[in-house]
Structure formats: structure tokens, C-alpha cells
């Protein structure tokens, strides 16, 4: 692209034509603060934090949306600019519930950081009358406190653009504007899919996951409980971010070490459960292909996607794979086969999931997910909550040695690792399905067409003489698009993988929060996913059907994939929910 010449703070520099002032400045190592701006989904110029002076313009200009012009003279650090930003912050503070010390976001609140940067010295300067909003803790996975909301509308953009759901939005007008749902219903009353994408983009503590660490600490404290933890595929490549380790670093060893030091009786890997998922799902897929459907078969690992389907497309319930998600399969096996093995009554086993996901909190409360008569999984923690537990336990994470998972659920195949990124479940299933259908080991197990961060990926494969058309989509907006295509008859697929969050679990709503200054300029999803594919590449075993533990459990307990026993332990059912 053509480079054009501009002047920033008196220094002549260049930037690609078509860049915004914000981007041009960043290229030239100048950071301009933002609050509302989220690249591509929330370019609304509302918070006015990014204002800069441009020579020849009477008013200040919002750098986030204003394109550069040849010869433009921009000042980002004048007294006038600083003053404007400070007054803006003071105005925002005048409407913000300033209970910072007890706020879940204290320390990584974007508003707090900016107040420090711009030397806000009197947080009461513009104090005035405010409307008071009720604290909404009616949903399973999150709370909302509009009194802390700064109306950047990043959550609204996440919900309506990425997810095309739009259960939250700005209600009322002017000073009375607040984020809410239709007819001021609470979050628990609307068809929110619990994906948590709103949470990871919120700059303040206005919305956050419901912290369940207390329940886990209590279980750990209870001598009658056998407390075991399982960690989802993607959490090992994101947890480090909470401890300032570079984005995309696999910290599996330190994570295991930390969890062990927190006091879990066993530290297991959800990736192993993912291998079981593949055994069941691949089998189910083959059965559907051979027995005329219903097709396409949709994956069922993503609880956000499942809730979406139940609420907005109940007609597709027969198309959903009946497999439980890896988290639930793990819990089911832990409270049945493992309980028996260990001689522990399932009621005394407390299963904690470490998940990239807020919808997992909803998932553990689902009906028909209790193989042993007790909830398969007891608590699903997000990566963020686990990071807080590690901090609270006084563990110096960065200095920990690398440790190994406990057995029997400690050694997963590469297939389990890639579950954490969009296309991963599809690829893992294709590996096993191809081999099962071929009846002998196969060499080519990389299905690269379904990798990558595009929202919709399509591919056709010939598996043992059968032509199979598949798609992997992430983000509900993309899922919606593909459903429309399928239902209109425009496209036919045999197998569709859907992950509720854009990019898959690596970008889940339970992952560490990255401020907009990172999100807007760093490709979080690609970096995190790369670490998973790297781990897959380095595993000795990369197909779920090769896993020794999988083979053992089927031999001892489940029989074969799709058996009656397997169904009673590893499968579930879905129910229609209201759209409104």
C-alpha cells in the first residue's frame, strides 16, 4: 500500500494510506489512548479519549476513526489534548461507581490506568446527580453493574456484531442511557448464550464472570472431598498472560505445578476427555453418514453454541451431536470409572474445570449431565479465576518448575490439544474417522484446510471413497450465516464444527482480559492458536484412537464407541428454549 507522509508531534514520518491517525501513530511508536474503540466492531468515536489536534481543524479530532491525509500535521501530546482527555476522564468518573478497591478489575481496569496516565487528581471534580441501577446477578455465569458502566458499548458490539445475538444494548437516551435488555429484563431472563465475549472486552468492572473460587477453596478445605481439577486445551496457552508472560506461550508445566500447589488432589487434563469426545463423535458421524443422517451433524463441545441452537434454532437439535463436551465427559468418567477404580464414592469427588469459557458455568448446571447420579462437573472456573487463585495462594507462577499431569487422565494425543482452536475438533474427528473407515493406520493426518482464524472455513475430503463436505465456523454471527445457507439449500455439509467464540476457545469469554490497546493491534487468536498447533505437532500420538487410556477405558468400561454404556455416560440430550 502507498505510504504517505505526515507529521506527528513535529516529527515527519510515514504510514500507509488509508490508516487512521491511531494506526499511523502506533506504527510510529506513539500510543494514543482509547476506551470505546474496538477495531472493526466498535468504531464509533464516542469516548473522545483519543482526541488529537490536527493543524487547520478547529475542534479536536478522534484519532481512532479519522483517516490520515498527505501532509497532515498531528499533535498527540499538547497541553490542550492532555486537558481534554483529563476532563473527559473526570466526566466519566463523575458517573462511575468508584469502589475500585473491591473491584474485580482493580489493577487491570482500563479506566483506572488512564486516570493514572493523565494525572486525574480529583476524582470528585465533576460530581453530580446520577441514576442508580440495580446490580444484576440473575444469570448463571456473570453479573452486570451498570453503575460502573462507561457506555463504551464494546459489550454491545461483541454481542451484536461478533455474535449477532444482541441481547444487550443501549436503552433510553442521553444521560439516562444505560446498557440493558429488552423491557429492562435481567440477564437471567433473556436468551443470552453465556459466551462471555462481552466480559473480555469490558474496560471496567461493569460486567464480569461470577467468581466461584470461593466454592473451590471450600471444597479444597473439606477433608471428605477428593478434589480433582481438569484443564481445558486452550487454557495452557493463555494463563501465562495473567502473569505477564508473552501472548501465545504454552505454560502447561507451570500451570500443572501451580494447581498442584493450590492443593488439588489430582491435576488432570481435559485434553484426554477430548480424545474420548472424538471417539464418540467420529463414531456418531460415521453412523449418521451410513444411516442417512440427520445431516449435517453439528459439533456439541461449545456450550454457548448449544444454548444458541436451543434458543434460536431448536429445529436443529436433531442435528447436534449428542456427545457431551470434553469437560462433561471428563466429569462423567471421573465419577464413574475413575471413582470405582479409586474406590471413592462419586458424591465425594469434586470436579473442577479450568475453562476458557463462561458458558461452561452454565453447562455444569444442565440437565441430563450426571452419569453417576451427581453433576458430572461441580464447578467450572474461568482462566481468570484460576489466575486469581494462584495469586491468592501466593504462588510465584513465573518461577515454577514444569510438572506433568497426573494419570490416568494425564496423557492426551495431539488431537485433544487442537480442540482449543476453531477447526481443531473437526481435524481431530477427521483423523479418527478416516482411520476408522480405512480400517488401517493412515499417514496424512493434517487437515490444514480447516485451520486458521477465518470465521467460516469449508473443505471437501474423500474418506475411504466417500466424499465428505465439512465446515468449521466460529463466532455465532458466522454460525448464523452458515445455518441460513444450509436451510436455504444453498449449501450442503456432512459435518459442521461450531465454536461459539470467534477463533474458538483460545478467544473464549473466560480467557484473560487484554486491554483494547493490545486487542486492537495484536492478533491474539492467531498467536494463542499457534501454541496449540505447536503442541500437537510435538506430541508422539496425534490421533485420539491411538490413546492408551482411551483404549483402556473402552476395554474395561465402555465397550466400544456408541455402545449403550458409552451413551449412558458420555452422551446427553438438548431442549428447546425460548428465544425471548
Amino acid at each position: 500500500m502507498k505510504e504517505i507522509m505526515i507529521t506527528i508531534n513535529g516529527k515527519v514520518c510515514t504510514a500507509p494510506e488509508g490508516s487512521t491517525i491511531l494506526e499511523a501513530a502506533r506504527i510510529n511508536n506513539i500510543e494514543i489512548p482509547t476506551l470505546c474503540f474496538l477495531k472493526e466492531i466498535n468504531e464509533i468515536g464516542a469516548c473522545r479519549m483519543c482526541v488529537v489536534e490536527v493543524k487547520g481543524m478547529k475542534n479536536l479530532i478522534t484519532a481512532c476513526v479519522y483517516p490520515i491525509r498527505e501532509g497532515m500535521e498531528i499533535t498527540t501530546n499538547s497541553k490542550k489534548v492532555f486537558k481534554s482527555r483529563k476532563i473527559n476522564l473526570e466526566l466519566i468518573l463523575s458517573t462511575h461507581e468508584r469502589k475500585c478497591l473491591s473491584c474485580i478489575r482493580s489493577g487491570n481496569c482500563e479506566l483506572q490506568m488512564l486516570c493514572k496516565e493523565f494525572s486525574v487528581d480529583d476524582e470528585d471534580y465533576y460530581n453530580g446527580e446520577n441514576l442508580q441501577y440495580d446490580f444484576d446477578d440473575t444469570s448463571v455465569h456473570m453479573y452486570r453493574n451498570d453503575n460502573k458502566c462507561i457506555l463504551c458499548k464494546r459489550c454491545v458490539a461483541a454481542c451484536s456484531v461478533w455474535q449477532d445475538i444482541g441481547v444487550v444494548g443501549p436503552n433510553d437516551r442521553g444521560f439516562k442511557t444505560h446498557i440493558g435488555s429488552a423491557y429492562e429484563k435481567s440477564l437471567g431472563e433473556v436468551a443470552c448464550i453465556s459466551c462471555g465475549q462481552c466480559i473480555v472486552v469490558c474496560p471496567t468492572g461493569a460486567i464480569a464472570e461470577k467468581d466461584q473460587t470461593k466454592e473451590v477453596w471450600a471444597a479444597l478445605d473439606d477433608p471428605t472431598k477428593h478434589v480433582i481439577v481438569q484443564t481445558a486445551p486452550s487454557t495452557r496457552v493463555t494463563l501465562g498472560e495473567a502473569f505477564n508472560i508473552p501472548i501465545g506461550t504454552n505454560v502447561e508445566g507451570k500451570m500443572v505445578a501451580a494447581l498442584r500447589r493450590i492443593g488439588f488432589d489430582k491435576v488432570f487434563d481435559t485434553n484426554v476427555a477430548a480424545d474420548f469426545t472424538i471417539m464418540e463423535e467420529a463414531n456418531e458421524f460415521i453412523e449418521r453418514v451410513q444411516n442417512n443422517g440427520p445431516l449435517p451433524m453439528f459439533t456439541s463441545c461449545s456450550p454457548g453454541w448449544i444454548k444458541y441452537c436451543e434458543s434460536y434454532h431448536p429445529e436443529l437439535i436433531p442435528n447436534l451431536s449428542s456427545c457431551k463436551s470434553p469437560q462433561q465427559m471428563f466429569g462423567a468418567l471421573a465419577k464413574t470409572w475413575y471413582a470405582e477404580k479409586m474406590g471413592i464414592h462419586p458424591k465425594d469427588i469434586f470436579v473442577v474445570g479450568v475453562m476458557p469459557c463462561t458458558a461452561k458455568k452454565f453447562e455444569v448446571t444442565r440437565e441430563d449431565e450426571a452419569a453417576a447420579g451427581y453433576s458430572d462437573c461441580d464447578v467450572a472456573l474461568t482462566t481468570r479465576e484460576v489466575a486469581r487463585m494462584i495469586e491468592k495462594a501466593g504462588i510465584r507462577f513465573n518461577d515454577l518448575p514444569d510438572e506433568q499431569f497426573d494419570n490416568p487422565f494425564g496423557e492426551a494425543t495431539g488431537a485433544g490439544y487442537i480442540f482449543g482452536a476453531t477447526g481443531g475438533v473437526m481435524e481431530a474427528a477427521l483423523r479418527t474417522a478416516s482411520e476408522t473407515l480405512a480400517g488401517h493406520p493412515i499417514d496424512s493426518i493434517d487437515f490444514k484446510e480447516v485451520r486458521g482464524m477465518e470465521g467460516i472455513k469449508e473443505a471437501s475430503y474423500e474418506i475411504n471413497g466417500t466424499k465428505v463436505k465439512v465446515a468449521a465456523v466460529s463466532g455465532i454471527a458466522n454460525a448464523k450465516k452458515i445455518i441460513e445457507k444450509i436451510q436455504s439449500g444453498e449449501e450442503f455439509y456432512h459435518f459442521v464444527e461450531v465454536m461459539g467464540c470467534p477463533g474458538g476457545c483460545i478467544n473464549g469469554g473466560g480467557q484473560p482480559v487484554q486491554p483494547a490497546s493490545v486487542r486492537n493491534f495484536v492478533d491474539l487468536k492467531t498467536k494463542r492458536a499457534a501454541a496449540l498447533y505447536e503442541a500437537d505437532k510435538n506430541r508422539g500420538l496425534r490421533k485420539s484412537n491411538d490413546s492408551p487410556i482411551v483404549k483402556l477405558v473402552y476395554k474395561e468400561f465402555l465397550g466400544k464407541p456408541g455402545s449403550e454404556k458409552a451413551h449412558s455416560v458420555l452422551h446427553t440430550s438438548f431442549t428447546k428454549r425460548s428465544e425471548f
Binding site: N171, D172, R173, K176, G180, S181, A182, E184, E579, F580
Partner: protein, 167 residues
């Protein structure tokens, strides 16, 4: 203005239902059809019941919250049925400088409601409105379609009394 609680049941006549369905059918697939749909709903039902917005949401494929959010932005839309008589006091500049504020206050006191509210018996809705353009007659109020101009507080009270005495 937003609404917190639903305090009454939604009832519609067959003709309302039919008329609105027809509107919706005409608006399906029309770019920007939400606004006319909301306006028609407001006109036909006198307010925006959740049941009706759900129908719009389904038909036009717009999230319910999006419709509600839009509706709460515009002062034309209401979420509770209006009273039999809507008293609108013009608060345009011309009227204001000629004492419209006092008239509004007086009505609020007499009816025991704030501007924007409806009396419990659903007889009166009181509202302050932007300039209705009859500045030559300032200060002006309207009661439903009827316009009363060149008012004083006293004359204004008289107008109210005539409606209080009506059914």
C-alpha cells in the same frame, strides 16, 4: 422512556391483529423497516407491548433488544398505554418565556403525576412537548387533538376542569 415492570395484560382486538399483520407483511424485507413497524405498532395499539415487539423481531429478523433500544431512544414511543386525554404542554421557547412552566407545574400538582406519567385511572397523561409550532398562540397546550392557546395559569386550570368533569 424505558419501562421496568409490566403492570397490565396485553389485549388486542381481531382488527388490530389483522391490521398490524398486514403492516408487517408489507415491511418484511424492506430496508430500515423497523421504524415504520414500531410507528405502526404505536399507532394501532397506543403503546408498544412486548408481545407485539416479539412479533416484529421474528418477522423482520431484528433482535428484540435492538427494537426496544431504538424505541426507547425516541420520545414518540411509549410502553404503557396512554390516558384517555393526553395533555401536552408546549415547552418551546416562546411558550416557556410566557409561563408554560407554571401551567405544567399546576397540572402536575392537580393530577398528582409527573410529566410523562399517566393517572392511575388512565384518564390523563401529562407530558411536556417540544415546540408544536403555534408560537403565535403562546403559551399553548393540546388535549388530544384540541389546541388551547394564549393561556394563563388560571385559564389553563379552567381547561383542565372541563376535562375533569367529562367522562
Amino acid at each position: 422512556m424505558s419501562v421496568k415492570e409490566k403492570v397490565f395484560d396485553f389485549i388486542e382486538t381481531e382488527s388490530q391483529h389483522q391490521e398490524f399483520e398486514e403492516c408487517l407483511n408489507n415491511l418484511q424485507g424492506v430496508q430500515g423497516g423497523q421504524m415504520p413497524a414500531l410507528q405502526e405498532a404505536q399507532r394501532i395499539y397506543g403503546y408498544l407491548p412486548v408481545e407485539v415487539l416479539e412479533r416484529i423481531s421474528k418477522k423482520l429478523d431484528v433482535p428484540l433488544e435492538k427494537l426496544y433500544s431504538t424505541a426507547t431512544f425516541y420520545s414518540q414511543f411509549t410502553f404503557v398505554p396512554k390516558g384517555k386525554y393526553t395533555i401536552s404542554v408546549c415547552m418551546g421557547t416562546a411558550c416557556y418565556v410566557k409561563g408554560a412552566g407554571d401551567i405544567l407545574d399546576s397540572y402536575a400538582t392537580s393530577l398528582k403525576i409527573k410529566p410523562g406519567e399517566t393517572t392511575p385511572d388512565r384518564k390523563f397523561t401529562l407530558e411536556s412537548v417540544r415546540c408544536i409550532g403555534a408560537c403565535g398562540l403562546a403559551p399553548v397546550i393540546t388535549v388530544n387533538e384540541e389546541v388551547y392557546g394564549r393561556l394563563t395559569k388560571k385559564k389553563g386550570d379552567k381547561v383542565l376542569v372541563t376535562y375533569l368533569n367529562q367522562e
